[in-house]
């Protein structure tokens, strides 16, 4: 049996088959990876029961999705260029970071490996690179983290808003 999981099994199906059940009357959206623009897709309400909350702000539109397995993922879409400039997650399971970080994923993997190799110990990441910040925390069944491109944050916002 194949079970489609938001931010889970997507990497094998292409990045855009992310399906969400929207709140009343809202248009259908899919989330984009960091650096991309959000796109619309058809909704398969039979398969996915994630809930979506859209929070409209001055600098960002925040798309907050609660996965059916309890993990909350937020995407921060810049009001100035319409692209995802930050993502965050918290919950019992780490979301699919390959899907979530998109073109930044390889950079994340390399930087994470470098931090791990320093001592060979599992500990929270604090990746601070010019175009990518990744910070993680937590432990088994309680993970959290965020990633953003510090150079792409819109005017009137700062890194503290990505949470």
């Amino acid at each position: 049996m194949k079970i489609l999981v938001p931010f889970g099994a997507l990497s094998t199906r292409g990045a855009w088959i992310l399906v969400v059940l929207l709140t009343l009357g809202a248009p259908f959206h899919a989330f984009a990876a960091l650096g991309d623009a959000p796109q619309s897709v058809a909704v398969d309400q039979e398969r996915i029961k994630a809930s979506l909350k859209i929070i409209q702000g001055d600098a960002f539109t925040i798309y907050e999705m609660t996965c059916p397995t309890g993990t909350v993922v937020r995407e921060y879409v810049s009001s100035s260029n319409g692209r995802v400039v930050g993502v965050s997650w918290r919950g019992p399971f780490i979301p699919d970071l390959k899907q979530l970080l998109g073109s930044y994923f390889d950079q994340y993997v390399g930087a994470a490996k470098e931090q791990r190799d320093t001592h060979g110990v599992r500990r929270p990441l604090n990746i601070q690179e010019p175009e990518l910040v990744v910070q993680t925390a937590g432990h088994m069944r309680a993970f959290s983290g965020r990633a953003y491109n510090p150079g792409a944050l819109p005017a009137g916002s700062n890194a503290d808003d990505i949470k």
Binding site: I94, V109, A112, K113, P124, Q135, G138, S144
Partner: protein, 645 residues
Amino acid sequence: MILSRVRSLRTAAIATILAAFAFLPGCFKAGTPPVAGAVTIELTSPAQTFPLSPGAATTVTATVYDESNNGVTWTSTPVNFGAISGQTSVTGTSNFQTVATITYTAPANISANTTVTITATSVSNPTITASVPIKVSPTVVSLETVLPLTGNSIPAAAQTLAPGQILTLTGAVLPLTVNSQGVAWTLTPADAGSLTGQTTGSANYVAPATISSPLTATVTATAIADSNATASVQVTVLPSGAATNVVVVNVDGGPVPLKVYPNGVFTSVTICNPGSNSSSSPVCQSVDGILVDTGSYGLRLLQSEIALLSLPTFVDGLGNTLENCASNVDGSYLWGPVSQADLYIGGETTVFTSPLPVQVISSTDVIVPESCSNGGTANLNTSQLLGANGILGIGPESTDCTLNGVNLCDGSSQATPPNLYYTCPKVGCATTDSPVVVAPLQQVTNPILFLTNTGTFSTDNNGAILRLPSVSGVESSVTGTLTFGIGTEPNNLLGSATVLTLDSTDQFTTSFNNQTLTNSFIDSGSDALFFPDSLTICTDNPQFFCPASLTALSAEMNGATEGQATVNFSVDNADNLLSNNPGSAAFSNLAGPSGTYQSCANGNASCVFDWGLPFFYGRSVYTHIDACLPPPVACSPTQAAWWAF
């Protein structure tokens, strides 16, 4: 058409070539060709009661019918594992029959039980082959301790003893052969107590009568016939006395040579094939360098460290094996089958309950589903990568897929979690495999749930107490204890400890520097305190803080419904600490960021205070395991998950 037949004196012989129609073994005599021009090979070898020991030899004889009298060539697999020698061939004895005999010699060093396949191939017709399996095993010393009350023996696990206490050990050499000769005994250091009553099968370790600080000694049994085969048990003599529900833990840098794991607390376990008792094949292995982790659930062992064992897995009706994925906070993961084992730790064992589901971390580079591997993050499947030989996850939940008493993986409460359990065919998983639901009894289980004290037969299964001495700045290493059970024996009473209850995500709140950090937890598997602060981030180690000088701080812990405590701690410059103390393992002032201060002061619901190992120095920290039924069933405080110290 292939015409061949194979017969062996051993029932397990493998016929690699079968007649296309049913010629049953024994239906006709060797040397009587069923069809003119055909070739037949029949292999025999002496009956193998015990596996071959390292360097031991056996013979294999091929009786070949071949009108060309060309005989056979010999091969063995695995290749370059042992040697074939002394090929003799007597041709044309009668009826075009050739009898060829070889000697197979096992390698001098064997790391795991192995079945070698010896194959004879016809020279006249290379499509005709016959094979026979030969079992080979390392020489292994089986070490057991004799229980004082019953006189029963159990596999030797690390022991704590009181001054003057006597520990009786028995040693046997496996596989059993006619001249195993037994074992010789050594004590290291030689003056750490004494060995008395030594025979080739048993010895008594006598702890020193008086000591002022914990003393650790290792008793080793070495096979007299093979000095490479040894088994050891670590004994720690505690001035305060000892009990069978106590095991020693060490902050000693871990098991990887030339690599110091800072603030890692390690113990050792003995793992056995489930239900095993004395038999001709090795059944138990002791593994040291096991990280004690109150931030995870379940025992996870590197396959390479238990290579002599054959732990059964969970297999479904289609022959698929249940595999487990454990994600780490840094994006790395552990992958391998859920396996059933008997566990001995200190004087506690799981054998009175049922085999413990553990994760065996696959040592080979197998294909891992992308939803677990995340397409490229690190698979920590060696001791160098993991910094340990395994992880003893003894946090406050019962399995690795339980939260607040609710099982998230059995399909009862929610959709299948994205990256925990998979079922894969024998050939392995595919990158596209999807996760599956799993019954609770097949999930990787907190080992404490299954523990029984072999001395008192008390079930010490509701939690544990990790006690470490104070560390003032930096120490090369420290020794502490892990006591099983809370309130189950005279030495594990809660007393006046402060209890912190947990919320629906098994976390509590820490108030620190005008932040309310709702996702707080106590984690012996974190090598530092991690929290959001504006302290300077280190240059060399950006996962740590580097204040200009030692900085004293204070935080307040608040349990979900009860418990409050003020905790004072200090943060030192991690770059200086680590570079100035390259051989040291215990650091009381190591801390690093989790998120950023500004973000968390603004009311971020996911902000974390990770009370890592420095919190344990100078404390007794109790972890009580959730024994509640899922909501809405009310849960009494005595059943709930909590921390106390």
